[in-house]
């Protein structure tokens, strides 16, 4: 089968996802437009060569609705011949969009594609698209629906993760993110976001708090204890996880991913198109996988997705040099490390969403870019990128450095 290569990756910095966030004045189409412009312009390629663009977006309604990807393609001045699709696999949408874009190349449907994502959480709040799953009694009852925060606390309960464990993880995430920014580790991918008069609005991730420590986190109250009590999501979760008397609520704003705005794009193509256009591949996509897992605990999918991706690549976990798992909640990463016996020094080496935020539809593409950069910077060979997903799923991609 044709190989798919990553030729380039760009992302916006992440702006605080509230009305006082620096990117709040930019429309989601504007964010998507700017990353599409950047990846075209810095590769110096004719956008007409880009056949299809897949963008993840988790709340595709309102100004993110009506296939935001196609709107951004046209807005970015791509020729009308470039098609666009909007992808929703909840938190892994950005990575799934890359996998779709890569699959098109591998299958011979296209030579050059873009995978990426966009989410302006300050403008189209999480949950804006409603959905039957938690709302329709039939599906809520059948799946024992609980919000993700309860699931994250259930993971902590089931796998014996204490409040100190998750807080310590969060402190380290902040430290690594701050250090990475200090060492300009994100420089290759970061594309400052400009306003309508062309002035720079934001050139760095806005939510990093270098001075976070155990004490400051210790002062925060658990965020999901109240929801657990009323309307009673703890009871719902325990109906399935009956071996526990209660849920240990350990997560709060400081050890969960931040709500932010952002967009990212990754340029993917086969070997021939690179030669034709004179662009150099940076990484090869070794394998891709998605799985479904138990929906109430919801966020344990990455270990199974990773196992499937490894198997499909014919690799062993020892063959992976760097692991990147989206920091939706600290317990998700700690459980993943526990399940696959991964050392903390090999995973999320530049920090993650706890420090820098999780713009739902874009995150998968952002952390893909982070790994491409980090493999080049560190000289390591392989990386596995994965995310936990709502309703119990996991998506993973394994890449290998080419240069």
């Amino acid at each position: 089968m044709t190989e798919a290569y990553i030729y380039d990756a760009v992302r916006t910095p992440r702006g605080k996802g509230k009305a006082d966030g620096s990117l709040h004045e930019v429309t989601p189409v504007g964010l998507a437009t700017q990353v599409l412009e950047a990846i075209r312009d810095r590769s110096e390629i004719d956008a007409g060569e880009i056949e299809d663009v897949a963008f993840g977006c988790v709340s595709p309604v309102g100004e993110q609705g009506a296939v935001v990807t196609r709107t951004a393609i046209l807005n970015a001045g791509y020729p009308e011949t470039t098609s666009g699709i909007q992808v929703n696999r909840f938190c892994a949408s950005g990575l799934e969009a890359i996998n779709i874009a890569a699959a098109k190349v591998k299958a011979g449907e296209a030579d050059l594609t873009i995978g990426g994502g966009v989410e302006s959480m300050s403008r189209v709040p999480m949950g804006s698209d409603g959905g039957a799953w938690p709302t329709d009694p039939t599906t809520a009852f059948k799946t024992y629906f609980v919000p993700q925060g309860i699931s994250a606390d259930l993971i902590a309960t089931k796998y014996g993760l204490s409040r100190d464990d998750v807080d310590a993880y969060a402190v380290e995430s902040q430290k690594r993110a701050a250090q990475s920014w200090k060492e300009k580790r994100f420089e290759k991918s970061i594309m400052p976001v400009k306003d309508v008069i062309g002035d720079v609005l934001l050139d760095h991730d806005e939510t990093v708090r270098a001075n976070t420590d155990m004490q400051s986190l210790g002062a925060l109250n658990p965020s999901f204890a109240m929801l657990g009590e009323f309307p009673g999501f703890d009871a719902v979760a325990l109906q399935k996880y009956a071996e526990f008397e209660k849920i240990n609520h350990v997560h709060h704003a400081g050890n969960s991913s931040g709500i932010v705005d952002g967009a990212a794009a990754v340029l993917i193509g086969n070997e021939e198109i690179g030669k034709k256009l004179g662009i150099k591949p940076r990484a090869r996509i070794r394998s891709m996988a998605s799985i479904g897992s138990e929906p109430t605990i919801m966020l344990t999918g990455p270990e199974f997705a990773a196992a499937k991706a490894l198997k499909r690549a014919g690799m062993d976990k020892k063959d992976i040099d760097l692991w990147e798992l989206n920091e939706a909640f600290a317990s998700v990463v700690l459980r993943f490390m526990q399940a696959l016996d991964i050392d903390h020094s090999d995973i999320n080496v530049n920090g993650g969403a706890i420090a820098m935020g999780h713009p739902l539809g874009a995150t998968g593409a952002m952390i893909m870019g982070t790994m491409v950069d980090e493999l080049e910077r560190s000289g390591k060979e392989t990386a596995l990128i994965t995310l936990c997903i709502g309703a119990g799923m996991g998506t993973a991609t394994i890449i290998e450095r080419v240069n």
Partner: protein, 735 residues
């Protein structure tokens, strides 16, 4: 046209007054006749151009209309025919919905109503008394609703209490009038509201003096010749938001779904389906919405579980309370004054419920201080009730005035019934029986509230054993709804009749059981609690045991219940049983666990050092951490389903044995006793109903496989093996 159940009078303004009066019934209910009559009337009304509008009221002073005749539903009326097609079943379930819809649209196309090109004939409800279930639903289908201003009038949709849902438009019109939240509260909890609340919520429009309901309703009809329901007008919106896209509705459903799961443990589909009717119905127009409602209604009605619930919780419960087991030819007893002997916890409770039932109580104890303390129990309950506005100060004072504490047996000389609740010691009882019989009237029934001593044995102390009977209360007496009546060998008809009359007076549910050790409920509960303790000893995680019981629908886990009844009592019973049967208990893991708790750890029960749980002061109880050291969790844990099955069969088997041995005489009593005695999962309709639902054959096979796995105590009784072979059911083939 002539009607059996309706009276129709058209006045000079052309307004028809339709008076519902179902003959031979003290209260109007939807039965086959009323449904047929009402349908005929709607058609005649819409066809008759001389009739301009209508007012619907009731001819019964007892109320407006109390809902559907559950005997009709439970007995296999609407939608019951297994042989009929889905379409026929649906049409049957949709019958009232279709009539009501025709009435409110005037038989006009909805599009014409929306455009203002057509109108319905105005129909108003004049509600003079309670309107429940289908009784409220007909009111909702009227265009205007006038209710008498009596706060005691109950307006509600209680169907959920027997496992059903309001199936005549209730789940659709209530949210369109009062919003999703109010509708959900009413329909999922089944609690009625008063007229003022209904008006505030927009469910009714006028609350007027009782003698004006019809006049006001007519006035409105006269003034509004061209009408349509709000939901049949253009631009209708749900009050407070509705539909799948309104963020308020989304938040509401996410919360309601969780609350409902927490409350029901997935055991009561009615609540889920009510929420589904609200959710799905709020997205579509009324004509589609009521079809959806009828389909969910039919889904419930055709499930064995709903039929079991209707049968046990409604039909059989009422029959028992009305004295089905009562010897018919004994004249009703007049119980004006009751002597209660012993003012301990049980006696004090019995004194309270008896006084509450309206009788005078002579509360006798050896020591006046004790007797007064016994009355103090009633004082505390009354005080609490008054402070919460549940009972008026006057009523409370009257109740208390009926209780007279004493130490003097002569005060018993004019009582109509004796209930003895002294210490469980044969000698003490003997003394009390003799002293009492020396003063009471020759024909007065003597009832003993014993839980451990055989009635026939106690009756030997009586000079009048034919007037001696057992009435077994449960603790706390004022809260527990069941009473076991135990006739001894020589108890006569009058004793049984009097005991049942008494139970009726205090508004509890009686079952009649055989005079054996533990009677019925205390024959079943100990083996169940022991099974849970056996699981603990085997290393099953205690949280799994407790959650499995709750998942099964038990109100409280067996380990928590053991703490309540106390490990100390458990050990005492285990020793007494061992002594009686001559078996050596020392090797029994349950016995060992009890000894460990009571004698080594001093964890004798909730009130004495804690038990399986810790009871922190002012905090929530939680499982005792030390338990995992005494009984380390096994590496291999049973699945939730396995744990549930084991705890379920630990109750089903002894209950089946009681029935097989004639300790309970019929499946009805076995079911009532289980649900109201020890809280056996009400959604099943009781253990016997549940065995029928599982299938006697499947029950026997499952019991046998559990016996192989866990021990002979799970073996099914021979009688059930025979039934499985012959294909018999507990409730007979028709049930």
């Amino acid at each position: 046209m002539t009607y059996k159940t309706l009276k129709v009078d058209v006045d000079s303004d052309g307004i028809a007054l339709v008076t519902i009066d179902v003959p031979g019934k003290s209260m109007n209910v939807w039965d086959a006749d009323l449904m047929q009559d009402f349908s005929n009337w709607v058609n005649a009304f819409l066809a008759d151009e001389n009739v301009k509008g209508a007012v619907i009221t009731s001819g019964k002073p007892s109320g407006f209309l109390a809902g559907a005749d559950l005997n009709m539903l439970g007995g296999g009326g609407v939608g019951a025919g297994a042989s009929s097609s889905k379409k026929e079943q649906f049409d049957s379930a949709f019958y009232l919905n279709s009539i009501f819809r025709k009435l409110e649209t005037g038989g006009k196309p909805v599009k014409a109503l929306q455009k203002g090109e057509a109108f319905a004939k105005p129909v108003a409800a004049a509600v003079n008394g309670l309107a429940l279930g289908g009784g409220l639903e007909i009111v909702l289908a009227c265009h205007h609703r006038v209710v008498a201003d009596n706060p005691k009038i109950q307006l509600g949709v209680p169907e959920v209490q027997v496992g059903l849902l309001p199936g005549a438009g209730g789940t659709q019109r209530l949210p369109r009038l009062a919003g999703l939240q109010n509708a959900a509260m009413m329909a999922t909890q089944g609690k009625p509201i008063d007229p003022a609340t209904a008006k505030a919520q927009g469910i009714v429009q006028e609350v007027v003096p009782a003698d004006q309901v019809v006049a006001k309703a007519k006035e409105w009809v006269k003034a509004n010749p061209k009408v349509a329901q709000p939901w049949d007008k253009k631009g209708f919106k749900f009050p407070g938001g509705g539909g799948a896209m309104d963020p308020r509705a989304v938040q509401f459903f996410i919360g309601a779904n969780a609350m409902a799961q927490k409350e029901t443990n997935h055991n009561y589909p009615a609540i889920q389906y009510i929420l589904s009717c609200l959710y799905e119905g709020s997205i579509v127009p009324m004509d589609t919405a009521i079809r959806i409602e009828s389909k969910y209604f039919l889904k419930l009605l055709s499930s064995a579980q709903t039929r079991n619930m209707i049968r046990t919780l409604f039909i059989n419960k009422q029959a028992a309370e009305k004295g089905e087991q009562r010897p018919k030819d004994v004249p009703p007893s007049e119980l004006k004054k009751v002597g209660v002997l012993g003012a301990g916890m049980m006696g004090a409770g019995i004194a309270y419920v008896t006084a509450k039932g309206g009788a005078e109580v002579v509360l006798l104890d050896r020591d006046l201080e004790y007797a007064q303390k016994g009355k103090g129990y009633s004082e505390k309950i009354v005080e609490k009730g008054v402070s919460r506005g549940k009972v008026s100060k006057e009523k409370g004072d009257e109740l208390l005035a009926r209780i007279t504490p004493t130490t003097d047996y002569n005060d018993l000389k004019d009582v109509d019934l004796i209930i003895e609740a002294v210490f469980e010691d044969p000698d003490v009882k003997k003394d009390v029986i003799q002293k009492t019989e020396a003063v009471i009237g020759k024909d007065v029934i003597f009832a003993s509230n014993t839980s451990t001593l055989p009635i026939t044995g106690l009756a030997k102390n009586s000079e009048r054993p034919d007037q001696f009977i057992g009435i077994h209360f449960f603790s706390p007496v004022d809260k527990m709804p069941l009473v076991e009546i135990i006739p001894g060998e020589k108890s006569g008809d009058k004793s049984l009749a009097t005991a049942l009359d008494y139970v009726r007076m205090i508004k509890k549910t009686p079952i009649v059981v055989k005079d054996t050790r533990g009677f019925y409920t205390n024959r079943v509960v100990p083996p169940y609690l022991n099974e849970a303790m056996r699981m603990v000893a085997e290393g099953v995680k205690p949280a799994l045991i407790e959650n499995a019981a709750k998942s099964l629908g038990m109100p409280v886990g067996p380990l928590a219940l053991t703490d309540e009844t106390s490990q100390e009592l458990g050990l005492r019973i285990a020793r007494a049983t061992a002594k009686e049967t001559g078996q050596d208990a020392s090797g029994d893991p349950v016995y060992q666990l009890l000894v460990k708790f009571v004698e080594d750890l001093g964890r004798k029960g909730r009130k004495s050092g804690g038990g399986f749980y810790e009871y922190p002061e002012g905090g929530k109880k939680h499982l005792w951490q030390g338990l995992s050291e005494i009984c380390p969790p096994a590496a291999e844990q049973p699945s939730l389903e396995e744990a549930k099955e084991r705890l379920l069969y630990a109750q089903l088997i002894p209950a089946a044995q009681c029935y097989a041995e004639g300790i309970v005489h019929d499946p009805q009593s076995a079911d009532l006793g289980a649900i109201f005695g020890w809280g056996f999962a009400p959604w099943t309709g009781g253990p016997m109903s549940h065995i029928d639902t599982i299938g006697v054959d499947s029950f026997v096979r499952k019991a046998e496989s559990l016996a192989q796995k866990y021990g002979g105590r799970f073996n099914p009784p021979e009688k059930f093996r025979d039934m499985a072979k012959s294909g018999d059911k507990l409730y007979g083939k028709a049930a």
